[in-house]
């Protein structure tokens, strides 16, 4: 089992209510992936920009790591976990 780096820009539908960011669905290429669970979340900084990280499980069962950059308000799929 290992993380494979993706570093792809993605479009995400997210809930920003209550001061908390919760990604709900993301589009990777032509594929729309519904997020069934947010496994963990953490925050890091790049300079003065906050980076919000999410480990999510898509309905396909794949586990992705997503990143939301508060500097330019963009989302990226950082990595995917593969078996083997």
């Amino acid at each position: 089992m290992h993380w494979e780096r993706l570093d792809e820009p993605i479009k995400v539908r997210a809930d920003f209510r209550g001061g908390e960011i919760t990604p709900l669905l993301f589009r990777r290429g032509a594929q729309a992936l519904r997020i069934v669970s947010v496994n963990s979340r953490w925050m890091d900084r790049e300079g003065k920009r906050s980076m919000h990280y999410f480990s999510v499980t898509a309905e396909s069962g794949d586990v992705y790591q997503l990143r939301f950059d508060t500097g330019d308000l963009t989302w990226r799929a950082e990595a995917i976990m593969y078996e083997g």
């Binding site: 089992m1 496994n39 953490w42 890091d44 790049e46 300079g47 586990v63």
Partner: protein, 478 residues
């Protein structure tokens, strides 16, 4: 406290640690060490009926928190499929092992090959230090809500709670609330130990792992440490433990048969500290500013490197990272060590005491490059290179300039006497300012916003991300 609910288990030290009960443990049936246990990692149960009376009073109070199986637990959080499976984080050697992996005797420092021999089904992950740092910072920031005096390490911290009882009402409840909050906000499990000094707090935490909370009431320190194995005493490493074991000593209490002078004869000045600690005393303060034993940055290469320029480029980058870390901590190294591993597995290292303590990157790299050149005495490729800064001093040792740089320059021009010294001071001051400016830019725009010196050669050859160049085997543990 002793009459707690189902969720509170108050047990004697002897029950917690067989064969560790000291002579004072049975005193009036007291149970100096109490423990709250969690039903599972990250899921502490609520504490319902703690006694209202404060057990601490005016005594010093130090809380030690330790993140359980830190790196491996973070990986299990990131990928739920890993939960319940043996997980190892590390490259070459184990940096962290989940409790499932520890059941196979795998510990930090175990070679990965040996770990996989013991547990072929273990999942091995290289790990990602910035992610672990983000989790640690979150937990330490929660600890800082209890007290401003928090001394942090890689995966544990000491919190000085002395005098905060009026603020928190009840230290044990406050600590337990911290454990619950950490589990809720990060999903990670921590173990806690509360005592009247840092040594005891750390020792008590060991009894709590994983996911528990133990505390030792004031006054029980000497009795508590008496029954513990000598290896648990700070200052007793494997070598000293071997010496003491040869003398027939097994517990800390047995060390008290030796006077301070005898222990000094045996272990030098450290013997005096050992004598104090053997009586449960530790007067070291909690330093909010971390003073690490060393700062080490290293990496291995996909293919053995033979070109000196390539090695120097990587060494420069590693020096920059180590120096920036030292500057951020406000510490100045007095020793620099370069180490490498050849492609045939042989290792070599060279160290140098720094004549002028300081964190100027150019100065440190000059020393590091000299050591590297000295080490490159074989016609073999290099598989791994690293730098280590050590023997830190907390306060700047450099002499402050009385008249500033401009005055120095004028003075240097006016007189030959002391000119080279002044020129050196001016150059060093400029380099310091340059380093601080570069640190500020990188702090705002990311590390790779400025790449300088021999590191420039890495730009086209080594992939990078916002944290810097992506090393093949970054050091996770230092």
């Amino acid at each position: 406290m002793a009459g707690g609910s189902d969720h509170v288990r108050g047990v004697s030290l002897a029950a917690l640690s067989a064969a560790a009960a000291g002579p004072g443990m049975s005193r009036a049936g007291a149970a100096p060490v109490r423990r709250l246990s969690a039903s599972g990692p990250g899921l502490p149960q609520p504490v319902r009926r703690l006694s209202a009376g404060s057990p601490w009073g005016p005594h010093p109070a130090v809380l030690h928190l330790d993140i359980d199986a830190f790196f491996a637990s973070v990986e299990q959080l990131r990928a739920p499929r890993l939960q319940g499976r043996p997980v190892i984080v590390g490259s070459g050697v184990v940096a962290s092992a989940s409790y499932e992996a520890r059941a196979y005797g795998i510990r930090a420092g175990t070679p990965i090959r040996e770990a996989l021999r013991r547990c072929p089904g273990a999942v091995v992950l290289v790990g990602h230090a910035p992610t672990y740092q983000a989790f640690a910072e979150k937990i330490f920031s929660l600890a800082a809500t209890l007290s401003p005096d928090v001394e942090t390490f890689l995966d544990d911290a000491l919190v000085d709670l002395s005098g905060t009882e009026c603020l928190h009402g009840h230290l044990i409840r406050a600590a337990e609330a911290l454990r619950t909050r950490v589990a809720r906000e990060t999903g990670l499990s921590i173990s806690l130990g509360l005592g009247t000094n840092r040594m005891v707090a750390r020792m008590v935490t060991r009894l709590s792992k994983p996911g528990g909370f133990s505390w030792l009431r004031p006054g029980g320190e000497a009795d508590f440490v008496a029954g513990r194995p000598i290896e648990e005493l700070p200052g007793i490493g494997p070598h000293r433990a071997g010496v003491l074991r040869e003398l027939g000593l097994a517990t800390i209490g047995e060390l008290r048969a030796f006077s301070s002078a005898q222990l000094r004869d045996l272990f030098g000045e450290a013997g005096l500290l050992i004598a104090e600690r053997a009586r449960g005393r530790d007067t070291r303060a909690i330093h909010p500013r971390e003073l690490p034993a060393s700062i080490r940055r290293e990496t291995s290469f996909d293919e053995p490197v033979t070109r000196r320029g390539d090695l120097e480029a990587m060494l420069h980058y590693l020096t920059e990272r180590a120096a920036a870390r030292a500057r951020a901590l406000g510490v100045e190294p007095r020793r620099l060590r370069v180490h490498l591993r050849w492609s045939d597995g042989r290792t070599a290292a060279a160290a140098s005491a720094l004549e002028v303590p300081g964190c100027v990157t150019a100065g440190l790299f000059g020393v590091a490059r000299g050591l590297l050149v000295r080490l490159l005495d074989r016609r073999k490729g290099v598989h791994n290179v690293g730098i280590e800064l050590g023997r830190f001093h907390l306060e700047p040792l450099a002499q402050l300039q009385l008249f500033g740089e401009a005055s120095c320059r004028l003075g240097g021009e006016a007189s030959d006497e002391g000119g080279p010294m002044r020129a050196g001071a001016i150059r060093r001051a400029r380099q310091e300012r340059m380093d601080h400016a570069v640190d500020a830019i990188r702090g705002r725009f990311g590390f790779r916003a400025v790449v300088r010196g021999p590191s420039v050669e890495l730009i086209d050859r080594v992939p990078g991300d916002r944290h810097g160049f992506v090393l093949r085997t970054p050091c996770l543990t230092r």
